[in-house]
Symmetry: C2
Subunit: 400 residues, 2 copies
């Protein structure tokens, strides 16, 4: 047998996929499974998005420019302007999802063997982008007990080596639900300035903030215009995960020229989807859509948080953003518990699927007793899922 590559052997398999057979088995056995394990919202995509696609679905389905359609770039610039972020066409590229935006950012500012700092726990696919681009992730540890706030500057600086090229972070945070304060972001900016690092800011959850918290964009920080790179996606805010549309944006012309060369290699982001986005962003409805969605997610967060508070031995910080919460459970091995919920437990023939949190940590052994809960179901379903989790926990801990 011919060997596959070393990088193919080391790149991680999707941790979610590992447990999928168990969920499938439970469903085949007639169990209903509440999926709180993935960041796939249940809210219908805006009608205006589909209208835009329908109108464009004719003629020749041609490549769009590699950078994206001019109209899409203009509509996106206008969208960012509503947040006080001024971007010209040259400072924007439409990417095939946020995943591609992060990959382009890493390709543009790192070489094989370089390092990037990432606050931990972090979105597990960052591992894959790093492996594919040959970059080493150096985690900045943050802890559930401290609400996943950033540690002090010295601790972060102690991780910097001559190979460090960037700090990559997600704000609002997946999986933590943390929204960084201005002071935290200014500290990162100061570190980036002092140590000649890029700041790669993953802002796909921009609008998902609660209790008056506001996500500050890296492009709004002063003194880092030459090193701030925004990566973004329409997946969450427009409930359009399947569209595969994202953005990379920066005021650094060399970074954008580099990203464009990588974009040219893959020819074009999906064309019809861009027409959907243009039509949506031009409609007067999209801001209402987002506002209503966020209200709904705020209700969900309140419900999940208060239910978790009622569960004996469960510890979690109140998330201020995104649609995740990390909960420390009174179990030794959260993955074992997650499996057990699928294979051995049911409440009136229903169960719940969670994401073991260890997969969001790079530091071995961390997060073993934690799960990530994505509150992506309606409040009735969530209430039910929380009851299943509570009773499941009770039954599980009793049998240990």
């Amino acid at each position: 047998m011919l060997p596959i590559s070393q990088r193919a052997r080391t790149v991680q398999a999707s941790p979610i996929r590992k447990l999928k057979p168990l969920a499938d088995q439970a469903k085949r056995a007639g169990k209903r499974v509440y999926h709180l394990n993935i960041g796939q919202p249940d809210i219908p995509t805006p009608k205006e998005y589909f209208d835009g696609i329908r109108q464009a679905a004719q003629g020749v389905l041609a490549y769009s420019p590699s950078q994206g359609l001019d109209e899409a770039l203009d509509a996106l610039a206008e969208y960012y302007r509503t947040f006080g972020i001024a971007l010209t066409r040259d400072e924007l590229i439409v990417t095939t999802g946020g995943s591609e935006a992060i990959t382009f950012a890493l390709l543009a500012v790192t070489d094989v063997g370089d390092e990037i700092l990432v606050p931990e726990p972090f979105y597990t696919n960052y591992n894959s982008y790093a492996q594919i681009t040959g970059v080493q992730i150096v985690p900045i540890e943050t802890r559930a007990e401290e609400g996943f706030r950033l540690p002090e500057r010295k601790l972060i600086e102690s991780k910097i080596t001559p190979k460090t090229r960037a700090i990559l972070f997600c704000n609002p945070g997946n999986p933590t639900g943390v929204v960084y304060t201005k002071a935290e972001l200014e500290m990162l900016a100061e570190i980036a300035r002092t140590h000649h690092l890029y700041l790669i800011s993953d802002e796909v959850y921009r609008e998902f903030t609660y209790d008056g918290a506001q996500a500050i964009s890296a492009l709004q920080l002063s003194g880092v215009e030459d090193r701030a790179i925004l990566v973004d996606s329409i997946s969450k805010r427009f409930s359009a995960c399947g569209a595969r549309l994202g953005v990379i944006a920066s005021k650094n012309a060399s970074v954008m020229e580099s990203a464009l060369k990588f974009a040219q290699a893959r020819l074009s982001p999906p064309t019809l989807e861009q027409y959907g986005l243009i039509h949506l962003l031009k409609s007067s409805q999209y801001q209402n859509y987002v506002r209503e969605m966020i209200s709904e997610f705020a209700r969900r967060r309140d419900l999940v948080y208060s239910e978790l508070q009622r569960m004996p031995g469960v510890i979690c910080a109140k998330p201020q953003g995104a649609f995740y919460v990390i909960a420390k459970l009174p179990v030794e091995d959260a993955e074992h518990f997650v499996r057990w919920l699928l294979t051995d437990f049911a409440l009136q023939n229903e169960t719940v699927m969670l994401a073991p949190a260890a997969e969001f940590y790079a530091t071995p052994g961390k997060g073993r007793d934690e799960v990530r809960i994505a509150y992506v179901l309606n409040t009735d379903a969530l209430r039910r899922a929380m009851r299943i989790l509570r009773e499941g926990l009770q039954a599980y801990t009793k049998t240990r």
Copy 2:
């Protein structure tokens, strides 16, 4: 200014883009430009494709499985079956265009610093995929005068080093129009077997063959089931370049498991587009669509070839496949001529844009007097474009 990465500096900018400002300028000055420089067909995409998208354009636009929708995998398996290629679901992954399929193939079988053999001239973006994945392309020279046929086995073998991992080739060929014979493919297979190499076969032009030529798939060759990797795209055969749907397929389970891990990192190919493809492949119309399109391209090829034959000093082989022809022109620097056509020449205020062929060669200095002509316009437009080219050549050579 913070430095960008070494790989960002070395990755090529799109050669087509380099000349685009000149074409834009010509158009702004009121000139009509016939674009024979890019592989973007002008044929309307099948109605059934758009119907499938319209029907699916509602509800939640969710991620598809990373491997692709089950229905898409089944429809694709059935499509390949019509060519005598039997594939199970596990042997197929839906990719975001053929570009991604090639990248996944390279990531799966090569590491940074490895080498791949590629018959030259080749599709210029192969350079980008190689640069992004850190792989070195070693060209196998073929020549216009010999109709771009493969050289003898010994010459190919002389390029193999301990770092060689694969032979990547495009069949039918972009930019050559060559369709490899069974003997040529069996020679490549024999080399792959003897020297433990993968065969990565880019078959996006599968149906585009003329004069009874037939494209043989790498998956139809015997004795290389463990090392043949098919990369494919629906862009050309269904005139759906903007869909961004491709395929990677192999009987080698390790390769497919590796490719799936890379696919999981980017979450999902575009979802709605897959519904378009499913609906199209399930309709009884798609084979007629392809057949009619190929007849049309055969007429175009005949016209372009016979027009080129009439031009003094122009040499070209009759292409048997794809929709390109490489023509050797009686000029020293084809890129200069291509620029001149845009800036200094017009026939009744019309001109033509071609692709300088040097960009398709890795060997420095090769192809300098050649252009690639993509016959992607209707026969009336092509006839006109060929007249412009003939008169342009005449005027240009007179002024030298």
